[in-house]
Symmetry: D2
Subunit: 336 residues, 4 copies
């Protein structure tokens, strides 16, 4: 933290900042500049809140210098985290493709799609049993019954399954059936849920919040890791911007930045970013080319009849093409 | 819903859209235009998902025509909702000022601030007992002990109290002690929590999500109302934009739009939008001038020592001035 | 500028940064912290580009510490700038209301509206002669003929007039007829035009760019002032965000921040922010309550027949009410 | 255009809308729905301004149904536009890589970098002679001298050159020396400049505005095409969002959407989106994988000493690697 004083700050005002820093147990180091004084804060363990100084007289700015995250930081752990789920390894050097419908709608639907996902070369099956929906009048998921269908998919096709958890009440249930527990974009800062996820023995996929900064996202992962669970996958799924030609704006620049800042694997979900099928395939290619460790893509055999997100679901044949493409791009990157 | 076809859509493609509409139980009404056909959807009860059509061949666009919210809509209930909490009436024609610290830190702190809030003319006392914090290493609130202090404030000063609830587990507790239950910005689309709030006998203050559209916000209120609780206050608290001179951008235009779209009262929290004290007072004045039914403002007698959000907390004297100002602006508006 | 090194930056990497700083003629001051070194840059006259260091090995971050603007800064000139245009004074302590149509459409239209603006208590008449329009097929303004009508308005009603200039070619013309020259939102970073405005003997109203930060906006004003023209009015008119219920999001927090950072007067244009009439009046009240020195509002006697922006233009009677309101809010603020 | 009436709109209000539509020479077609009337507008040549109706009593919404752009639309011209510059073809099926420094700083600098760009397999050389800079105190370019150096690059290496034009005054000069004239992001809606570009015999590269919607961008291209110049390249360069880990957010979803909406070629500039070198290479790969027709990348042999944008400039060796990669990804896409 660097506290920048006004040009005409009085010695008293500088002194007050220095004393405030000392009162928190930190070391204050004033740095006289050309036309104003700045005060560095040393020896702080965790992050210091800039707000602490922003309201004080004579203070122009308070600037965070170090990152607030620790356990998830590459500075803390240099080597890449690999996550093992059944026979699937997720992380650097591996390509993981997750496919399946937005929601589990019936056993027939799930099994039909899972078969196609498996044939295409998908690694993990996805399907929502508890659905967070914008409208209370929309289909809210099959709940426990949906989880049981997921278990059947795993048994039948030998693929691990991932599904979303939406509250603490149903966490035990989800954890019992799923191989990976997903925390959705709207719950990224549901800290109560994050703490529960930190106590889980399952890997957790943490989707980025709709308008989360990189720092907030990594701090959400820090919640999970600080509570004891080191197996976290990050998943970029588009952020909210002024743009209207896609549902959200896929922020692919976050992928190389995460690779630099954190040791955690990062996947990309192009389906929710796009909102329409046409954009899903090109954005999937782009996600792999930018260096993501995998994809999570919605697939449906009858998207017109899907109970949710039909427009953004790929047809199974499209998913098959995508898998072929994906492996080629992944191989291309590994050569270099 | 209006489905707009491509200029060169084939009759078959048009027919397929018509049949899909019919299969959902709605009425399709094709509207031939100058150079393309559009198809209106009639007789739909709730909203129709544009995504249903966006992926179909020959479809250029699918445009929502009506609003998805019902119970919270002014079209459903024309008269303004007034909420009674103790001797305080919240809503059109009334001015409600909520003041207090970000977090309850001790009984002494709470009582000291509450006395000043009361003297200044504040109507309701605020203070967090369960705190949603970006960092797992930050102060997370006094929890049950904090709730008990809030109850003591109410008894001592005769002011209703409001505090945030962050999960279903602690909802009963919060409900037992608070006069108004607050759902915070990060939980605006925690649908599980919204459903629980819908079963509460307490009024609920629903803060706007960090990047929520008006529609998403009203749909979140719809969740609460659909579950049985009609006593909802909306609270604008700034949205996330590219702007860096304030923590969030206070979206005051939402106040007159809500007044048009919904019958629910709307308050404004300038403290979280601003992030720094200097902006809180001018933004408070602006919030009342734009027509908000009240304010929620952070107040602290020793902001430098606050455990959270010190920089945006007003000193008690500033809060007193603000209350004087607020009543004058409110009176000015009522004259017209 | 503060250059923050990686935790494990080598002495060589630190040295290279120090030498780079020295090579630019600045003084480097390394600041050893708890777990990493930061290097302060002193004695720099103007701003230093963070990009200079961001790409160097071992550098984690490069953080601007001081503001890049000088002439427009309150640190350079503490007293508020007042601008005199005819008998109108613009700036602190004064309330300036600018009204008129989006575009001059005919002499009759302009004179009819000007009469109503004058009667209502408006101080300055606005009207576009050169119109920047999103579509090449939209009405582009009456050009020279429009300027002549503006001159007639000034003579007839004794009100100064303001109109937009869109390029250097027509600057002489606009300058010859207008009392204040306006640079629109799309030209805020048209640096060629800004330099020409800096040579003008007319005051310049600089509207904020659609997605301009405060810093970029003030730097645009710095261009004008550095070229010799100190008479600049800033005008906030809404920024682009994800929000859809208003055309742009009026960023009122910028008003108190400008008052702190700069000595220049700031007005607010609620018409372009809102895009619809219903929001213009409440946002106008809010703009004055937040501390703006004035308003620029679109007024039309027959908005349904306006050639541009009819939906956001007030009826003359609404403008009259607004002026009454505005003076009351302005008086209320001056009392305090 | 579809005008949606309030549920309780009166027959008079409906009638007034119908008459307003008729008065503009269009055909009004009322569409009775379940609970409200909507009115379609037919036979309109160009787009209709929604604002025309938004302010009328009884109107809830006015929704644009068709796109406002014509000449640039794929509905107007189905086949892809290819642009020939010297021996380089730009557009579908071709891969164009533009490389060079942000600004021409000296003949030696330009020739040194051009040689490396040529060797690496770059197709076109870029370099700014007139630089739009946020600060009036920053290097503004070598102007005419810079243009002459560009001409020398073309002669020496046989590569076409592209450079930015910033105003009408210097357009003739730029046009005389450059093979492609670039209009920068800050001038995307400088309509005066667009009209001049429309009269140029040179192809124009139109960069996307910092916060331009797809529609505004294509309308800016429409200005150029409507004035007579059909040779337009679009260039995505990142948009402004809340994100802070990259300078701008590269919006790759726009690439497939443009391919659907327009026949114009689209390139991607990852350098300005990223702002730092580390992100440029992965984003370049992603841009090609998403389907862009080429890249524009900043290259500098001594980025630490660059007069602008050093941090985002690739070293020549990195650019060479990038070109190799780029061709492989391009080939991969063509196979499918």
């Amino acid at each position: 933290m660097l506290v920048v004083m006004d040009k005409n700050a009085t010695p008293d005002q500088v002194d007050r900042v220095v004393r405030t820093i000392a009162s928190k147990g930190f070391v204050a180091r004033p740095i006289p500049g050309g036309d104003r004084i700045s005060i560095g804060i040393l020896n702080n363990e965790g992050p210091v809140d800039p707000a602490l100084f922003m309201g004080m007289p004579g203070v122009k700015d308070a600037i965070a210098v170090t990152r607030p995250y620790k356990l998830v930081s590459r500075e803390t752990k240099a080597e890449d985290t690999l996550i093992q789920v059944g026979n699937v390894t997720i992380g650097k050097g591996h390509l993981t493709i997750i496919g399946g419908p937005c929601a589990i709608e019936s056993e027939t639907q799930a099994m039909t799609i899972a078969e196609r996902v498996k044939q295409a070369g998908g690694n993990i099956f996805r399907g929502g049993a508890f659905k967070p929906r914008t409208s209370p009048y929309s289909f809210q998921g099959m709940e426990l019954e949906g989880l049981k269908i997921l278990a059947k998919v795993r048994e039948t096709f030998g693929m691990p399954v991932i599904t979303e958890v939406i509250d603490r009440e149903t966490f035990d249930q989800v954890e019992a059936y799923a191989d990976i527990v997903q925390i959705g974009t709207r719950n990224m800062q549901n800290f109560s849920l994050l703490k529960r996820a930190g106590q889980s023995h399952r890997p957790v996929m943490l989707k980025r919040g709709m308008s989360a900064t990189l720092e907030e996202w990594l701090m959400a992962a820090e919640y999970i890791m600080a509570a004891g669970n080191p197996n976290i996958l990050l998943c970029e799924r588009g952020v909210r911007t002024f743009v209207r030609h896609s549902r959200n704006t896929l922020d692919l620049s976050v992928v190389p930045v995460i690779a630099k800042e954190s040791h955690l694997p990062v996947l990309v979900d192009p389906s929710h970013a796009a909102g329409v099928r046409d954009q899903v395939i090109p954005l999937s290619r782009a996600a792999l080319a930018v260096g993501a460790h995998g994809l999570m893509v919605e697939v449906h055999h009858e998207p017109e009849n899907a109970l949710s997100d039909g427009a953004q679901s790929l047809y199974p044949d499209q998913f098959t093409d995508l898998c072929v493409y994906a492996r080629k791009i992944h191989d291309l990157l590994r050569e270099h």
